[in-house]
């Protein structure tokens, strides 16, 4: 065992200096009780920072070119909005990477908001509510059901998110009943799929869903 005269304490381990006073130690070293502190790597750290730098560089170049040649309008704003949307989607996916079901539910909220915003800022031709949303939502429902199956999740781990995805399928009915659509078929199909899925969910997984709601909502 080692000994530090200055501190008057014995030291167990293989240290060359006293951990208290950094002074010299005497005696025989022993095996250490702890492994050395690891160098923990940051996952995504370098990739995310590189992507961030590239984004800023691309934006700066576009802004500079657009400023020098302003004849075509302020197209650089579209580049900025596009890159912003891409970052938002990647951010949500990375943030919720631990739970794919949660990621799907979040994307189901973020993507429609982005699509509506793009449609609105580009003259509101209605492509978002007529086509994109009624097609996107069933795709996400399928993705949620597929993820639950592939990852072999327990009902407690997927039921709530699957229900959110199914309920979102009724959202296209709002513009439909308000008469805002010029192409009604995708929305009708989307709501139909959702109605069938919802009944299946309630009939086959009703009690488990009820238990999940009680758990999540306990006060």
């Amino acid at each position: 065992m080692l000994y530090c005269e200055k501190c008057g304490v014995y030291l167990s381990g293989s240290m060359e200096r006293c951990p208290l006073c950094q002074g010299a130690v005497t005696g025989q070293p022993e095996e250490d009780a702890y492994p050395p502190l690891p160098e923990t790597a940051r996952p995504y750290g370098l990739t995310v920072r590189l992507a961030g730098l590239l984004t800023v560089a691309a934006l700066t170049v576009c802004a500079a070119v657009n400023y020098c040649f302003p004849e075509g309008g302020w197209w650089f704003l579209f580049v900025a909005a596009g890159l912003g949307s891409a970052w938002l989607l990647t951010g949500v996916a990375l943030w919720k990477r631990r739970n794919p079901m949660k990621a799907i539910a979040w994307l189901l909220a973020v993507v429609p908001a982005l699509v509506l915003a793009w449609d609105w800022r580009t003259g509101f031709m209605g492509w978002s509510i007529n086509f994109v949303l009624p097609c996107f939502i069933p795709c996400m429902q399928l993705a949620a059901a597929g993820a639950a199956r592939i990852l072999r999740l327990r009902p407690a781990d997927y039921l709530l998110y699957l229900s959110i995805c199914i309920l979102a399928g009724f959202f296209p009915l709002i513009p439909l009943f308000c008469g805002a659509l010029w192409m009604i078929y995708p929305s009708v199909v989307c709501a139909g799929i959702s109605a069938i899925s919802l009944s299946a969910l309630l009939l086959f997984r009703g009690p488990a869903l009820k238990a999940e709601i009680i758990r999540r909502g306990h006060l």
């Binding site: 030291l11 327990r154 009690p207 758990r215 909502g217 006060l219």
Partner: protein, 417 residues
Amino acid sequence: MSNRSIPPWWTLDNAAKIFPSTGSAHDSKVFRFVCELREPVEPQLLQRALDRTVERFPIYRSVMKRGWFWYYLEDSPLPAQVRREELPPCCPIYPSVRRSLLFRVLYYRRRISRTGALNFLCALVYEYLLLRCPEELPQPVPVLPYDASPAQQQADSFQKYYEKPKGRSMGRSPAAYQIRRERLPRNHLAILEGRMPLDQVLACARARGVTLTELMTAIFLRAIHAGMRVRDRKKPVVITIPVNLRSYFPSESARNFFATINAGYDFSRGEDSLEAVLKEVRRSFRENLTAERMRERMNALCALEHSVPLRLVPLPLKDVILRIANKIAAQGVTASFSNVGKVSMPREMEKLIHLFSVFACAGMLQACACSFGGVYVVSFASPYRACETERVFFRELARLGIEVVLTTNLPPETEVR
């Protein structure tokens, strides 16, 4: 409906309700219990022992989930696996990159570490030793002192003993001195573990007419004071001490059941001799450690959880509120000292075990103590690069004639001040 469809779940107890909201990478709230055996650990046997132990403690086979209003525990099919120690001590368990059970079982050379509860580690070491050294144990096999049924383990004792507090609340404590030093990189913790003969420390405490916890608290207060800058010395040094409520209210629960008391000393007003500090610490312990005061503290803690407006706040907002409340409460505390007390194992097994030790990550300087088989271990877990307080603390013990043996996880270059 099968068990697979509707898994069992448990609400968190009062103390645990606050932890997930206020935990962070530098304040992981992870407790670690260590058992050092006489022989190197055999991982396969440890895994078998762990499988047996988990069956006895169903509540630990659970994951943390977010509800709309509170976090809760849900039964999980994830396997509990032993791992060789590689991660830094007490790194966060929740949230982590992958959903995991709320404990880790680690081994390194002769040591088995378990983050979480002591009873679980004792049961694990018990099972391991039954498998590892059957020939050294007498027949019939010794019985583990802790034998609560799963229902007793799962009981929330805070709920059982809560009464609505009448009259005054605890109020805000005055601002205490805060240690401000350079932190270790990547939220690492510096562990300094000092083991000493129990009879020597007990004799030292008895000679002064105080308990072991009172003696250690007083030495700790003085050690913090020694590292203070002169301009900080007008603030009191306050140490928070968790008190096991099981001593006051009968409970076999494997869940949290504690309240904290504060012991402080204002060095600008009193003299800084050990005797003077001890006198004040003893006075505040005697004043606070009564069944009546503990009941008051427990009820005040639980009142928060029982307040209807707070219960109705959605969880994301509750996270923010509790984090702010935790920051405000932390202003009243300099460091923390937990005395876990005596660890009991069957007498026949004691010769196979070298020591038990415990430490925790609390975002501030934290000391924990426990005793086993005549060895008293005080472990400091510090987020700071310099170990000023620990140096004064252990030197003081050595000065009092106690034989201290130190162990650390720090390589020499990290400690350079």
